[in-house]
């Protein structure tokens, strides 16, 4: 998952933990110490099954991630900027071997090619509900671009509607771009 803070990817990544949390503990690896479990609970993650692991140490980060991948079924991981491609590839291989569902959120410019089954890039976000002082934020639409093996190598753009509850839905396939094949 690639996109600047504010584009809605954290909440989307946390939403991916909702289903696995029904059967086993799920983990958020929080690099900045900012992730709020309240948002995860709102997306349907069970309170008692969400564990937050905070790690801002670049040396320990690969070790901790690898230790978690050995045991948990689903994890949302913030990837610090200066983590090497080699470490990320090794962790991705471990996740595949252990069949762990991993949502990786890059805090930098992106992730190396070939590690993700599905790559989501945030293109923008629009909000409804607030109007020059009146109302409150209610609903947002995320514009995303998906690529990689998960979409059969066909890059496509779509919108996701999020009303702040545990229901998120894809509302439209906007563009299908068949000219680019998946790298990974």
């Amino acid at each position: 998952m690639v996109g600047v803070p504010g584009t809605g990817l954290t909440r989307l990544g946390l939403k991916l933990l909702a289903e696995p949390s029904r059967v086993a503990p799920v983990v958020v690896l929080d690099t900045r110490g900012w992730i709020s479990p309240e948002a995860a609970w709102e997306t349907g993650v069970l309170h008692e099954r969400l564990i937050v692991v905070r790690c801002d140490d670049l040396i320990l980060w690969p070790k901790v991630t690898s230790a978690l991948l050995e045991g948990v079924r689903a994890i949302y991981v913030e990837v610090p900027v200066r983590i090497g491609d080699q470490d990320l590839r090794r962790l991705a291989a471990l996740a595949r071997a252990r069949r762990v569902a991993v949502a990786m959120r890059s805090l930098g410019n992106g992730l190396p090619s070939g590690i993700a089954h599905l790559r989501l890039r945030a293109l923008g976000v629009t909000w409804e509900g607030a109007d020059r002082g009146h109302g409150k934020l209610k609903k947002r639409r995320l514009m995303l671009e998906a690529s990689g093996k998960g979409v059969a190598g066909v890059s496509r753009r779509f919108e996701v509607e999020d009303e702040g509850t545990d229901a998120m839905r894809v509302v439209s396939d906007v563009v299908v771009n068949q000219t680019r094949r998946a790298v990974g």
Binding site: T7, G8, P25, E42, V52, V53, D131, G164
Partner: protein, 484 residues
């Protein structure tokens, strides 16, 4: 402890036995830098001259069976841990044979006879207080010279920290200990146990117990007779496939029954009734509670060993598994929970806790509050929850409405906002200014003046790159959350 030799291995050549890690090697290979437990690829790179064979645990169990039977003839109720490692309770046998050294010498003598009759296998015998110390007493014994440890604590204090690796299931915590300057079990045992508990959690306490000679003891529970499971067969089972199926079925039934009682077995007794001949019985033990896979594997190894060594003449007409050494580590299976995944996740989290410290593996609980940061009560994972600071059932008028910001800084972060007639117009994002497209608020945050709080206004600001929760107090703006 018994070294098993592969009958299919080329004689006199360097040999490497692997599954995904090294499980056995000849001296030449070990001299090349290979160690047990090393990843297979690394070992193959260090010893390219070695012949590599893949481990067959079932076959090892079959070849270990005569060793178990020999020892069992001398001392009843032996406990197999893995092919090659056997624990023998010696308390009663010592009186019978006249002392620990006499007993050890007798075991070595009987196994010498066995070695003479079969190809491969050498016994290392150690006697100490507790399984962990006994295992390392055997590992440091010489062939034909049993290592009878008189002072177990002193013996353990001299062992290298790496001896904990097998029991701790990983290297991370051991690496951390070494980094802290701890190199022997004695160094570790001299640290206060409370300090280790605080820094490393349960794995730290376990390591300290092992290093101090307080070996892991299960919490014995009463074992009602109906916890055991059994099957009878009209047609004797002679094929390995049928035996494996029956074993798996029994393992599932046994653990299902135990889970319902919230207990787990650390030791099981497998009994097979032969069509012609006496029943066979074997005890298997694990340090951790048996999982379905671990139990199925051991039943399969044992039954295969009996079938292939003609230990059950005429086939198997009855099978039973009885648990012993039950501990409270068993957990009730929830309707929608996967216990195996939960146990694995807890182990992974314990490793993360060992690496990062207990304050960095945390769990939140919902509580009352008006700001997003106030509405989560954090506590260390795995520790008793403290009381909530704010009543979650109270109305909390003026609370920031949902959806909640997904990113909440631990402290309010100063942020630059440009205003025009009381309306926000631009927000500084790093080096550039983003225009505010729309906003909601202000919502007044009434202060608790008696605690020194100041009044503040909250705004939800929407820009083209996202929405933010902003607090304005005394003319200064602060970031309180990002709707990411």
């Amino acid at each position: 402890m018994w070294s098993l030799t592969r009958p299919d291995a080329p004689s006199g050549e360097p040999l490497l036995v692997v599954d995904d890690r090294v499980t056995g090697a000849t001296k030449e290979v070990l001299d090349a830098g290979v160690s047990l437990g090393m990843p297979r690829r690394e070992a193959e790179a260090l010893a390219p001259f070695a012949t590599v064979v893949v481990r067959d645990v079932g076959d090892e169990t079959r070849r270990f069976e005569p060793v178990i039977a020999t020892v069992e003839d001398l001392v009843p109720r032996v406990e197999a841990v893995s092919p090659g490692l056997l624990f023998v309770p010696v308390a009663g046998a010592v009186r019978f044979y006249g002392g620990e050294e006499e007993l050890a010498a007798r075991i070595v003598k009987e196994l010498d006879v066995l070695t003479g009759a079969r190809r491969g296998g050498e016994a290392l015998v150690g006697i100490a207080d507790g399984p962990f110390a006994a295992r390392w007493a055997a590992a440091t014994a010489q062939l034909g010279e049993p290592n009878v440890v008189v002072d177990t604590v002193s013996f353990l204090f001299g062992l290298d920290l790496g001896t904990l690796r097998e029991s701790m299931g990983g290297d991370e915590m051991i690496d951390t200990f070494r980094w802290l300057g701890i190199s022997t079990l004695g160094d570790l045992a001299r640290l206060p146990r409370e300090t280790l508990a605080s820094r490393f959690g349960n794995p730290g306490v376990l390591a300290h117990c092992l290093a101090s000679g307080d070996d892991r003891m299960v919490d014995p529970r009463d074992i009602p007779a109906d916890f055991g499971v059994e099957m009878e067969f009209e047609d004797p089972l002679e094929s390995l496939d049928a035996v494996a199926f029956a074993g798996r079925n029994l393992a599932e039934r046994l653990l299902k029954g135990l889970r319902a009682a919230a207990v787990a077995p650390h030791s099981v007794t497998i009994t097979a009734i032969a069509a012609h001949g006496p029943p066979r019985e074997r005890v298997w033990r694990l340090a951790d509670p048996f999982t379905e896979k671990a139990l199925s594997d051991r039943i399969w190894w044992q039954l295969r060993a009996w079938v292939e060594t003609a230990g059950v003449p005429g086939g198997i007409v009855g099978l039973s598994i009885r648990p012993s050494d039950l501990s409270g580590e068993g957990k009730q299976l929830g309707l929608l929970s996967d216990e195996t995944s939960t146990i694995e996740a807890e182990r992974a989290l314990a490793r993360a806790q060992a690496l990062l410290g207990p304050d960095n593996v945390i769990q939140g609980r919902s509580q009352g509050g008006r700001m997003p940061g106030e509405r989560v009560s954090w506590s260390r994972w795995g520790e008793p929850k403290s009381d909530l600071e704010r009543d979650p059932e109270a109305p909390w008028p003026g609370a920031t409405p949902s959806p909640s910001p997904a990113l909440v800084p631990p402290r309010l972060q100063p942020i630059e906002v440009e205003w025009d007639g009381g309306m926000p117009t631009r927000v500084r994002m790093g080096s550039r200014w983003e225009p505010v497209l729309t906003w909601s608020g202000p919502w007044r945050l009434s202060p608790r003046w008696w605690t020194g709080e100041r009044s503040a206004d909250r705004y939800q600001l929407v820009t083209s790159v996202g929405a933010f929760l902003c607090v304005v107090s005394e003319g200064r703006a602060f970031l309180a959350g990002v709707y990411d």
